[in-house]
């Protein structure tokens, strides 16, 4: 008996060793598929639990429809073409708002970051504006610019502006004085200093600003489209609510998640490309 137990034990350990050694191999090889599998684990589990809960009436299906229903809803929208009109108009608004907000932030941010006189002149006022919750502008923008695209894009631009602005001024002001001194030792003019040292040195924080600005852009497009729109993913939210169709609401939420992730990934790729020289690249990408 004792002997057989011992045999069993050894069998167990070998099986266990095999298992762990395979595991180690997978980790050691660092195959991209292994990593993707790991990051997909939780979402897949969540979807399965959700599907089962909805199927077996643990939650009321008319409150929380099953994922398969949601996929069907999105599929139906794709077939009748409304999916494309809604996503494209939302993307268009985010893109334009992001563009204008970033442009304004780059111009103002670099002036304020560069010249201390400009900082004392502009910065307090800009900070005061920042203290206003951006959604408080909505009624005013609608009064001024009407319910059309103008007010929506302006609102998104306002949201994008602040993080980009803050990161540009911060980035410029924290450029290593020692590197600037190298440029000065070679007799570079102010313009050359900006172009050859200050600009590249503040690029990392510019990208951080762009990415958080884009996040805010997505937030504000929802606000803008909730307020009054006849198209767009935000409109779908209101539409679903009014028609008591939670499937439409959740579809819209999921589309927001997908689009937000895709656009952020695109920016991240640009960031990686532009900042490959950075020593702390991997650390800063932790988020």
């Amino acid at each position: 008996m004792a002997i057989s137990q011992g045999q069993q034990d050894t069998e167990k350990t070998t099986w266990f060793q095999k298992f762990t050694s395979i595991d180690k191999k997978a980790v050691g090889a660092k195959s991209p598929w292994g990593n993707i599998g790991l990051s997909l684990l939780l979402p897949v589990l969540l979807i399965i639990v959700w599907e089962l809960a909805s199927r077996f009436n643990y939650v009321a299906p008319h409150q929380l429809p099953a994922p398969t229903i949601i996929v069907q809803t999105i599929w139906a929208m794709a077939l009748d073409g409304s999916l494309w009109t809604h996503t494209s108009i939302t993307l268009y608004r985010v893109f334009l708002g992001f563009l204008w907000g970033t442009l304004a932030a780059v111009v103002l941010g670099s002036i304020v970051g560069m010249f201390s006189k400009a900082e004392t002149m502009f910065d307090p006022m800009i900070q005061a504006f920042r203290a206003i919750p951006s959604l408080a502008w909505v009624p005013l923008f609608i009064l001024w610019l009407g319910i059309g695209e103008g007010s929506k894009i302006t609102l998104i631009a306002v949201g994008v502006f602040f993080p980009v602005y803050l990161n540009i001024t911060g980035g410029i002001q924290s450029v290593d004085r020692k590197l600037i001194e190298v440029g000065k030792a070679y007799g570079l003019s102010t313009y050359q200093l900006v172009k050859r040292i200050i600009l590249p040195a503040s690029l990392p924080s510019f990208f951080i600003g762009l990415r958080s600005g884009l996040g805010l852009g997505w937030m504000f497009v929802v606000a803008a489209e909730l307020m009054g729109a006849s198209q767009g993913l935000g409109f779908l939210l209101v539409f679903g609510q009014n028609m008591s169709q939670p499937a439409v609401i959740i579809s819209s939420i999921i589309l927001f998640a997908i689009l937000g992730k895709i656009t952020d990934t695109i920016l991240k790729k640009f960031q990686e490309k532009a900042l490959h020289w950075q020593d702390t690249m991997e650390k800063s990408q932790g988020k």
Partner: protein, 248 residues
């Protein structure tokens, strides 16, 4: 190119850092500015470089008064101060102007001389401290400055790298013959590299001694004459109360 520092004083918000510093370097001479920390060695060097213009007194480069950054001067700092977004090669020709192809050729030539052949396309984050400092030395030399200013160039390096780079610097000096001013707190380094050692002492820092070393280079570190000189310098920095007789 000859270099004259005449009665240079510098104070920072009322506190005098260096006072009436005077010394002279002949063309091709290697001067060591030696002193304990806080005596204003680097302050003097920054005044010479033109990066700091808030000093009193006169600095003459080749007989002409100079108070701004000057193309004839090359500077090497304690840290390599490379642009992290540029490759080694691009860092080396950072200070050059003109045709890109020519710039590259010059830079490649210098990288060979500092022993970094094959590392042209590395980024600073991939370099060791010694390699980074070699790159910085190449960057300073590529503009062919007639005077090279070095601010504790090897003090952040490990002992072996330091010895290697000191020899490399002597080689480079042999091929370019620039006038050099080396700020250092390492007596052995000063004795190994310099033709003249200017000792700064006190607060505010003043020239305490100016020693000419006639021993030809390369020098042995255990040379009797140099060991005696080292004792003299140690005494000057720690114990001496009255200025010693000048040899110069």
């Amino acid at each position: 190119m000859s270099l004259s520092v005449e009665k240079v004083s510098r104070s920072f918000s009322g506190d005098v850092a260096v006072k009436d510093v005077t010394f002279h370097a002949e063309k091709g001479e290697v001067i060591g500015l030696l002193g304990t920390s806080g005596c204003g060695k680097s302050t003097v060097l920054r005044a010479i470089s033109g990066l700091d213009t808030g000093y009193e007194g006169t600095i003459k480069v080749n007989g002409e008064q100079s108070r701004s950054v000057n193309k004839d001067l090359g500077i090497i700092f304690q840290e390599a101060r490379l642009m992290p977004w540029l490759t080694v090669l691009e860092n080396v020709y950072f200070g050059l102007e003109g045709d890109k192809k020519e710039k590259r050729e010059k830079a490649i030539q210098l990288l060979k001389q500092v022993g970094l052949e094959g590392f042209e396309h590395y980024y600073p984050k991939q370099l060791s401290g010694g390699m980074a400092q070699r790159t910085a030395i190449a960057r300073a030399l590529v503009t062919e400055p007639t005077t090279l200013l070095l601010d504790e160039p090897f003090s952040a390096l490990d002992a072996f790298t330091k010895l290697q780079l000191q020899d490399m610097l002597l080689d480079l000096w042999n091929s370019y013959r620039p006038t050099m001013v080396i700020v250092t707190h390492d007596i052995d380094e000063a004795l190994y590299l310099c033709d003249r050692i200017v000792i700064l002492k006190g607060q505010p820092g003043e020239v305490y001694d100016n020693i000419k070393i006639r021993k030809p280079k390369p020098r042995s570190k255990s040379d009797i004459e140099l060991v005696k000189m080292k004792e003299r310098i140690l005494k000057a920095l720690e114990l001496g109360k009255e200025p010693l007789v000048r040899e110069a």
